[in-house]
Every structure is written in structure tokens, then in C-alpha cells.
Amino acid sequence: MSTVQTQPAILADEPPVSLWRDAWYRLKRNRLAIFGLCVILLLAFVALFGPYLTPYDFLSQDLEARNQAPSLAHLFGTDDLGRDVFSRVVYGTRTAFVVAVVVTAIALVIGTGLGAVAGFFGNPFDRVIMWLTDITMSVPNLLLVVVINASLKTPIAQWMEARYLETLNPFYRETVWIDFLLVFGSMALISWPPYARLVRAQVLSIRSRPYITAAQALGLSNRIILTRYVIPNALGPLIVAVSAGLGTAMVLESAFSFLGVGVNPPTPSWGNMISDGLRVWQHYPHLLAAPAAVLGLASVAFSFLGDGLNDALNPRGSK
């Protein structure tokens, strides 16, 4: 009987386990998720510091060492212009991460905003926003981005050229910015609906909780209730969605580069490296295999981590 008596004392001594520590504990036990997390951290490190660590510049051509098989000097070999494939893959990691992070951030802001408004203020906002969400989700996203890219490239290029002639600022001549602007913009335009849906559902379930009623009774403004009470409580599922969204954005970016509507050469992107490699894969399979394998690895890592986070943060929904 004595053990029964001591048990409450032990419980009281333990510090309260926060949601995040609890989630981290569950995540740690999921080996696939930890594998994903490690790969992502490694890739993020490569994206941040990689270009300073590679022995070659991603653009420097060595015409005497073209199409070489992988060796110690060139880990992934060289391409048809004698560029080091490893350096290009490393720089492609940076491109992929920049696009993934920026696109997810923009989509998250749009989606959270619209979803919160729809859920919090109800009709007619709710009906209109959800209608737009459904429509955006029902257009095949690749085709939509293709249309946006194909149609907005010329006007933006013309606008930039006009700015350049006006100001003679070389900044406006940098075509890389047009690429990034188009890629970011068009991808964000198709990526926000899942966030909007999720946030709306969260808000609807949170709105009826007593602490919101209490906050309203205290006379707090809608803005403060939204930012202080509703959004923080909706964070768990949102983190899962962001993890999945980062992976999706990364894959989408390379998909567009593969089709020639994303980041243009010579800026290396996994997608345009794969599409270059596809033309010569029978002779130089390493040109295809290296970027394809890294892209596959990154995508799988995000998928595993997202799934693990889902189990860790939403324990009720998963089992």
C-alpha cells in the first residue's frame, strides 16, 4: 500500500512536461523521422555554407576534363562543359532551399491570413474564401504555374528593362531576379490553399473554447484574440503542414526547372541538371543520377519528417 501513497508525491515533484518536450520525446523514438531530420539539417548546412566549401566554382569550365566519370578530384564527375557536378549539386541545394523557404513563407502568410479570417469572421468571408480555396486546389498546380510563368515572363522582363533604362541601375539587368520573382510568385499562388483550410478548421474548433469566450468577455479586440490566443493554439498541425510544404515546394521548384519554366541556367537547380542529364544518360549516367538521387533523398527526408511530426504533435489523430 505504501507505493500507492508515494505515487502522487512523485508526480508532484516532476516538472510539468510541456507540449513541445512531449512531442520531441515522441519524435525521437521515430527512427525514420530522425533520419529525415538529419538529412534535412545536413542539406541545410550544405545550402548555407556549401558554396564556400566546394573546391570548384559552379560555373568554372574545364574544357579538358569534360564528361568525366566520378573520381576523387570530381566526386560526381564533370558535365559536358567540364563543370564540376558536385559543386553544381551543392549550389543547387542552395537554390532549392531558398525557393522552398521563401515560397512556403509567402504561402503560409497568405494561407494563414485567409484561413483565420474565414474561420473567425464566418460568412460571407468564409464562403468566398473557401470557394477560392476549392477552385485553386482543383486546378492541376503544375499547369497553373506553367500558364503563369509563360504569360508573365515577358511583361516582367519588359518592366525590368524599362526600369533599367530609366535608372541605369545594373540591378534591373539581373535576369536571376525575374526568375526568382516568377518562381516565388507563381508557386506561392498555388501553395496557400492547404494552409488556409487547415487554419480555418483549427480556428473553428478553437473559437468555441471557453478561453476565447473569456477573452471576448474581457473586451479584447479581435486582432489581439486572433494573434495571441487563436494562432498559437493552432500551431501544432501548422508545423506539420509546413514541414510537408517545404518538401513539396522543393520538389515543385525542380519540377519547373526540369520543364524549363523555373530557375534558368546557368544558375544550377536540381531540376535543370536532371533535364540536362536526361539527354545523355545512356553515356553519362552520373549526370542524371547525382542530382536525381539528391532530390529524391531530400524529398523522402521531408516526407519522413512530416509524417513523424504529425505523429508527435497530433498523437490523437495518428493512432
Binding site: 470557394w131 492541376p140 498546380n141 509563360a150 515577358t154 520543364l259 545512356q282 538521387a293 524529398s299
Partner: protein, 318 residues
């Protein structure tokens, strides 16, 4: 029932119109003057003769306001006229009609393959929940979901050639019953299969805790009969609702699969139109793709109350 279908349809029409308008507006304001685009490709210097251009524009009705031209476009669409390709001058409808069967057959086979493979696997995973078999199936599904078609396709091709020397590269189209269709079909089905495995697993796990399953087991019904008779039926309903999402992954995937494996379908037409900035073709294919997905969603909406009478009651009382 009829009223329900009618309201669904009434909500559906403006959505389709809005998508058409958005896509048309992008091409209208972004692509620039179609007459100039045509003559920039044609021999001669008509493109730099503003008076001629203006005259042609007027005769083609291209100086009218946006709404009027859009209405004209929709009206022509309804009669099966998608305009002409900027590049070849051929009718876009003819180009689409030549390419569509390949894509449609592939998509249909992919849906059938998905249903045949993914639903049993999802059930097996759920019935072995949290055991090794479950983890293997679930892990593979996650893996298949994450691998893009343009990575899986080429890598499988390389693998096939390396492992089985003497095998021809599966390139080109010879109909659904041709051996070459196998690899593209497989790659195209990867993502749908992954999606349906996870969906089925989740649905089965939910049904397993229902009273009627416990009752069936308690009165000694064999496990196989429970799985096929009591569990499968209610599980199919949430799985069928994924049709729209599957359609999206197939339409997206077809672009890459057809490019990698050299199939003369809508996907390859898209890429070709894209590299040539052939706006009428891009416009037409985007509309067809969106239409396919939207009609799948409408179909699911209409079928849902038939599959699950409870949903119909809920909707009526709302």
C-alpha cells in the same frame, strides 16, 4: 436527389467559369498581342508594320474589350473550337484530339492499377497495425509519395538497362497492351498508390473500432469475411472521395512520364507548347486538365450520398 445534383451543378458552373477567366486573363494580358506573336514567327516584316497589325486586329475582333473577347472564346469552346496553334497553324482541338486518347488510356489504367494494388495493401497494413508489415508498407508508401516522376522514371530506366542487358529502352507508345507501357504506367501510379494506401489504412483503422466489426468478430465470423464484407464496404467511401486528388497527381505526373518515356500524349503536347510559347495550346490543355479534376470532384460530390446515406441526411438537415 435530383435537387441535390442540380444544386451541386449550379455551384460547379461558376467555379469552372472563374478558372477559365483567370487562365484566359493571364494569357490575355501577359502573352501580348496574338497577331504580333503570329507574325513574329511568319516570314516577312508584318510584325513591325503597326498599321497592318492594327487592321488585322480589327478584322479579327481583337480590339474589343476583355469581357467580350472572353465571351467569344467561351462560346467557341462550347462548339469545340479552341482556336489555332500559333506555331503550326493547326486547330488546337485536332491536336488535343490526337493526343488525348494516349493520356486518357494511361490515366484510366493508372486508376485501375491504383485501386487493385493500394486498397488491399492499405487493408493489410491496417490489420497489422504497428507491426513490422505495417511499417514496411507505410514506409514504402511514404517513399513512393516523395519520389517525383521525373526522378523515378529515369532512374528505373537506368536500372532496367543495367540489370537486364539486352532489354530495349521502353520508349514510345504502342497501345495499352504493349509491353513498353509497363514502366510509364508504374511510375505514373506511384503517387496515387501511396495516397490510397495511407487513406485506406486510416479508414480501416477507424472502422475497426466500430461496433459492427466487434459484433461480427464476437459471433465468430472468419477474419477474412470480416475484412471483405464488414470493413471494405464502409472504407471505400472515404477512399473514393480522393478521386479529385488522384486526378491532379495523374495530370501532373503525365507531363513528366510522357516526356521521359516519349509518349505522344497531352503531357508532351504541354511541354512542346511551353517551349514554343504556343499560348492557345497551353490555354486549352490547362482548361482540359482543370476540367478533368473539377468534373471528378463533381462526380464525387454526386456519388457521395449514394455511397454513404448518412452524409445525405447530414446535408439535408444542414
Amino acid at each position: 436527389m435530383l435537387r441535390y445534383v442540380a444544386t451541386r451543378f449550379a455551384i460547379w458552373i461558376p467555379s469552372v467559369l472563374l478558372v477559365m477567366m483567370a487562365v484566359y486573363a493571364l494569357a490575355f494580358y501577359g502573352a501580348g498581342d496574338p497577331i504580333k506573336l503570329i507574325f513574329l514567327r511568319a516570314p516577312g516584316d508584318v510584325a513591325y508594320n503597326p498599321e497592318r497589325i492594327e487592321a488585322i486586329r480589327e478584322s479579327a475582333g481583337l480590339n474589343k474589350p476583355f469581357i467580350e473577347q472572353f465571351g467569344y472564346y467561351v462560346w467557341n469552346l462550347l462548339q469545340g473550337d479552341f482556336g489555332n496553334s500559333l506555331n503550326s497553324g493547326r486547330s488546337v482541338w485536332a491536336m488535343v484530339k490526337a493526343a488525348a486518347p494516349v493520356s486518357f488510356k494511361l490515366a484510366l489504367c493508372s486508376i485501375i492499377l491504383t485501386a487493385l494494388v493500394a486498397i488491399p495493401l492499405g487493408m493489410i497494413a491496417a490489420l497489422n497495425q504497428n507491426r513490422r508489415l505495417d511499417y514496411i508498407i507505410l514506409g514504402s508508401a511514404l517513399f513512393l509519395w516523395a519520389i517525383p516522376a521525373y526522378v523515378a522514371g529515369p532512374l528505373l530506366m537506368v536500372g532496367l538497362i543495367v540489370l537486364l542487358p539486352g532489354v530495349n529502352v521502353p520508349y514510345g507508345w504502342g497501345g495499352v497492351f504493349d509491353i513498353r507501357v509497363l514502366l510509364p504506367l508504374l511510375v505514373l501510379s506511384f503517387q496515387p498508390i501511396a495516397l490510397i494506401i495511407r487513406q485506406t489504412r486510416a479508414a480501416v483503422i477507424e472502422v475497426l473500432s466500430e461496433d459492427f466489426v466487434r459484433t461480427a468478430r464476437a459471433k465468430g465470423v472468419p477474419e477474412v469475411v470480416v475484412a471483405l464484407k464488414h470493413i471494405l464496404r464502409p472504407v471505400l467511401t472515404p477512399v473514393v472521395t480522393q478521386l479529385g486528388l488522384i486526378m491532379i497527381t495523374i495530370v501532373n505526373g503525365a507531363i513528366f512520364v510522357e516526356l521521359v518515356f516519349g509518349l505522344p500524349g497531352l503531357g508532351r503536347l504541354t511541354v512542346k507548347a511551353l517551349t514554343n510559347s504556343d499560348y492557345p495550346v497551353i490555354l486549352a490543355i490547362t482548361l482540359i486538365g482543370s476540367f478533368l479534376v473539377m468534373i471528378s470532384n463533381l462526380l464525387v460530390d454526386i456519388l457521395y450520398p449514394l455511397l454513404d446515406p448518412r452524409a445525405a441526411d447530414a446535408k439535408r438537415s444542414r
